[in-house]
Amino acid sequence: MAKKNLSKQKKMDTRVNFTPMVDMMMLLITFFMLCTTLAKPQAMQLTMPSNDKDINQLDDENKQVTKASHTITLYLGSNDKVWYVAGLPNYEDPSCVKPTSYGKDGIEKVLNEHTTEEGINPVAKIKLAKKELDAKKNEYGSKMTDEQYQEQLKKLKKGELPSGEKVPTMTVIIRPLNSATYENMVSALDEMLISNIDKYVIDNVDKMSQDDKDLIAKAGVK
């Protein structure tokens, strides 16, 4: 009797049907694919000057003077148009306001090819040095820590090249007109990141001087 039972058990099929499990997995995956996102949003740090009048007065006393040839003013207009003025504007001649575009062949090129009164292109030099620094960091077996990298990057942005040469840094004034979009502003800030420019300010067009207003009106910036 007992022997008969044992032989029967040996013949039993041990295969488990996985089809319901697969069904359930499919449902779960569909749920996760629809309700979640893979792309983690990025952020851009922006520090605006304070509106506080007391602080602004103090700033007036400690104002840093920048050489005219170290400054570029960007005017962001409607329909993704952008204009720039290199150095001080010439209020008599509206042709100092030149049109350009966003991106690699536009602002990036303008900044890259901007020559200061010392006869050098600081943005291009700093960018080249940053590329070397990045290569050193990403090199196989590199021992550079994140802090070291950040420290060197900070120095670069101040214009201290690893060769010991000191280059002037650029100052950019971004003036988005009321007709510009938020995307335009972010694109302009993006260019600052790409060109390693630390000194930039978003200026309020309503508060700019009458001369500037006349100039951009004459140059057809809108």
């Binding site: 499990m21 697969v22 996760f32 979640t36 949003p41 922006l46 962001l76 972010v186």
Partner: protein, 205 residues
């Protein structure tokens, strides 16, 4: 003539490898993805090369739609409750338990204080529609702070470490964001995170 023998064949398919793959995929999705944060209005952020990550906690999200409507909220429900209490005390608005329950279910505040009670009395499925036509008022009350500024102050009181993250649609006119930023600057909130999407194409160039 040859006889067809196919009929006798067993059609059992082994699902084990398929199940293995599915488990792997499921694990991958569970570990790498984050849940979509519910937003009253869907907003497309502009692209940038910035690779900074936004912190997951202590963030006050400020949402700006293309029409310039402003919403704000934080992921911490207790902070939200504290903010609501500060605001209702200040403006003398009475809310019943059901309205507070609706408030807690909502991800962001978008109704002005005068409409808040009405809005929170709506059915849950109608709230989503109604909020798209609302938005926090940005004009100052009797020369003082605006309602939006009051909400930010309340958030700052509820959590002193809170950081401001502005998520704005790329098509929003600059005048709307200028107004928002100058309101924040007026109350000495000068540091914000602008939420953007990573522009991989530009980054690799």
């Amino acid at each position: 003539m040859a006889k067809i023998k196919i009929q006798k064949k067993d059609i059992w398919i082994d699902m084990t490898p398929m199940s293995d793959v599915m488990t792997l995929l499921l694990c991958f999705f569970m570990l790498t993805s984050t849940f979509l944060t519910p937003e009253p209005v869907s907003v497309t952020a502009p692209n940038s090369v910035s690779e900074l990550k936004i912190p997951e906690q202590d963030v006050l999200n400020i949402l700006v739609t293309p029409e310039g409507r402003v919403y704000c909220g934080t992921e911490n429900k207790n902070n939200m409750q504290a903010m609501l209490e500060t605001m209702t005390d200040k403006f003398g608005v009475q809310l019943n338990a059901n309205q507070i329950k609706h408030f807690r279910e909502d991800a962001m505040v978008g109704a002005g204080m005068s409409q808040l009670a009405n809005y929170l009395s709506l059915e849950t499925d109608k709230m989503g529609e109604a909020i798209q036509k609302l938005g926090l008022p940005l004009d100052s009350i009797n020369g003082g702070k605006s309602e939006f500024q009051e909400w930010v102050t309340a958030a700052r009181d509820a959590n002193p470490d809170i950081k401001l993250a502005i998520k704005c649609d790329s098509k929003t006119p600059y005048s709307a964001i200028k107004l928002l930023m100058s309101e924040l600057q007026d109350m000495n909130e000068n540091r914000f995170q602008l939420i953007t999407n990573l522009d991989v194409k530009r980054l690799n160039n």
